[in-house]
Symmetry: C2
Subunit: 408 residues, 2 copies
């Protein structure tokens, strides 16, 4: 199968999570993505997590399949080469993603003067242009205040950079929407996308802000209880924990059946004059439900619980650490979205391909490429420079050649 | 400006979060999106959060601008109408998003037999077709085990359905990538996307699995400390909390300067033989840095801290509850991505438009439409049925007419 974005060429100049994820997602769908990296290597080249010898697993994970063109943007000649790459002709080119750092070097109007139909996605921190990052934005929209356990004073900022991920994926959608518009009417697009706006918008889409306003108060802190239905974690006989969730009526009835608690809940429904078939009622009586179900979980290992749940519609998830996911992967138990990927300068790494499957197959993915691996190719193939010209740029350290991200 | 996806027509048949978010995101970019709803109203019509009189704010938030066509899919005639809508001709049609529930009624091969170039995104729980949901998937990939505070035995499952959001946004990217491929070579696409794969892939992309495997252990639980750089929350004089993050060297130097701690850190660097200009060193010495900085925060209100940070590159975020975000919005202090949107059957609601800005403007968004609002339009305009035929379908309850989501 031809990869869906085969033939498309995107230039990307970003760092941290959202921009690189956008570039990698496009590359995993088959686009040729060139990242413009500094000649001395990207700031992400040493970012944690690191492997045992200090090489960045962050960098190797978020740069898979993306080409690296190393240019010194602080020098006008380097900037001009980058601008020429961004605005190079072709129906399948003229696509550009940058972020706040890129703004120093890539002015939208100047780029558009060079290529009027450029589709340019600019990723920001705040919509006013100030820098921001996930870990500092997430607290602003209530997530850590609601996540904290009922017995903790301190809010709990979760470790997943969820807004970075959402921003990267929205940047991809924005770019492809801009491409579709251009194919239709030849127009270019200036698209701005702020991490802070992504957090605000999605919390608002989910109804959290309207709820606080219209009900005159914040939703309660719930520990691990799910809001608005029944879902909470249970301790199993082997000390492991699982979460069990029943949102639909069918899931709830299956949960009652598999735990053998029909008679207890029937009696409780009568005593409390409540119909637990309603998801809101299950939420209101969550502590009672948890207490009734707990002994069933406590009498079984997590494996037994998961096994029993298989014949039902109840959704059960086991709490695992990353090491436990790795062990399950090595036993062949995990989804084929996880793969070992070879990369230059380091041993093959456990990482992933795109979760988008085409014709029932995962697309192939390749590893991260050393900084500057594609400088010569880009300057020669796209800009038509001669070997001599490229050599001169390299001698003057305006264009960089291959370098493996250094050990710390 | 013409909205980027104006003219495009997408049929969607999903519920919960990921699918509706995909549909709404496409609608906010200008596509005409029809959701096929059950005649009796969607299961999401009563989903929490609810307003004071029991109307779903979840539904109103995630259905903005999406048309509703109510059909009884349990009856062959209703199924045939839905299939005809999905496979209706047109270069800008033949685009379909469904989820696990849709699978009962929409077989991919049967749809492709009707329209060979259909672009079909099928959202799943697990890649093998079993149901799953965010709250039960998230524990499987280590996030709650790493999020929990160091003094808690129980893992902490964060409240944000981050994987649902990522899945919805990837579905949009998949659909647009499939559309681009079709425009190029006329091919249709079968695209499957599992929530569980989205979680596995992104945790792997971030390097968390390779880290655990290559280093032979899981990263430590860090409370609210950021991993790999310096970032943690501080208590302010007024009892509020803020998070302060310094990832780059410039941010770190600004943090030291604004807090007047240059001499202390210089002495500590000498005493510990460490260079705190390195982000990994800041991470390793995070407890010490936190202790040195805490008095500066404790002596100032959160507002004073935020004000002082403005003249620096340090990233500071205030912990707010949703109510506090609402209050700031009403004072005119929030991003214009947040908007009040009118909808039939309920008062205007505080929600959001798309965070993707085009030509420096947010696109307009409209409110959720009552179930079945667009049944007549779709059957008449797209399928060419007469008023009499539509009347007969309505009489037999195969096609539904308008109904406002009920109060509980």
């Amino acid at each position: 199968m031809t990869a869906p974005l085969a033939g498309l060429r995107v230039v990307e100049a970003t760092s941290f999570v959202a921009g690189p994820l956008a570039g990698m997602t496009l590359a995993q769908l088959g686009a040729t993505v060139l990242r413009i990296d500094p000649v001395e290597g990207s700031v992400d080249g040493g970012r944690w997590p690191l492997d045992r010898v200090g090489r960045s697993l962050f960098w190797a994970g978020l740069n898979k399949g993306v080409r690296s063109v190393a240019l010194d943007l602080r020098i006008p000649e380097g900037q001009e080469l980058a601008t020429a790459l961004v605005t190079a002709p072709g129906d399948d080119a003229g696509l550009f993603v940058d972020n706040t750092i890129g703004r120093l070097y890539f002015d939208h109007d100047r780029l558009r003067a060079r290529r009027e139909d450029l589709v340019h996605v600019h990723i920001q921190g705040y919509a006013d242009g100030r820098a921001a990052m996930d870990y500092a934005v997430n607290p602003r929209y209530g997530v850590p205040m609601l996540t904290r356990h009922t017995d903790l004073d301190r809010p709990t900022n979760h470790v997943l950079p969820a807004w970075d991920i959402a921003t990267g994926l929205l940047a991809v959608s924005g770019l492809l929407a801009g491409l579709r518009r251009r194919a239709l009417d030849g127009q270019g697009s200036r698209i701005d996308l702020a991490l802070d706006d992504v957090a605000a918008a999605h919390v608002a889409h989910l109804g959290w802000l309207a709820e606080a306003e219209e009900n005159g108060r914040d939703r309660p802190r719930l520990g691990n209880h799910m809001y608005g239905a029944f879902g909470v974690d249970f301790a199993c006989a082997d000390g492991r924990r699982v979460i069990a969730v029943a949102i639909t009526r069918q899931q709830w009835r299956d949960l009652v059946r598999v735990t053998g608690t029909e008679k207890v809940f029937a009696a409780l429904e009568t005593a409390h004059e409540v119909d637990l078939d309603e998801e809101g009622a299950r939420f209101e009586h969550r502590a009672l439900i948890e207490a009734v179900l707990a002994p069933w979980f406590a009498a079984r290992t997590a494996a037994e619980v998961l096994d029993a749940a298989k014949s039902t519609r109840v959704m059960v998830g086991e709490f695992r650490t990353p090491s436990e996911v790795v062990a399950a992967y090595r036993r062949g138990e995990e989804s084929a979205v996880l793969v070992d990927v070879a990369a230059e300068g380091r041993p093959p790494m456990l990482t992933a391909t795109s979760p988008l499957r085409w014709d029932e197959r995962y697309l192939e993915t390749s590893g991260a490429r050393p900084f500057g691996s594609d400088t010569h190719w880009a300057l020669s193939e796209i800009l038509g420079l001669s070997d001599r010209e490229i050599g001169s740029l390299a001698d003057r350290k305006i264009a960089g050649s291959r370098s493996v991200p250094g050990r710390r």
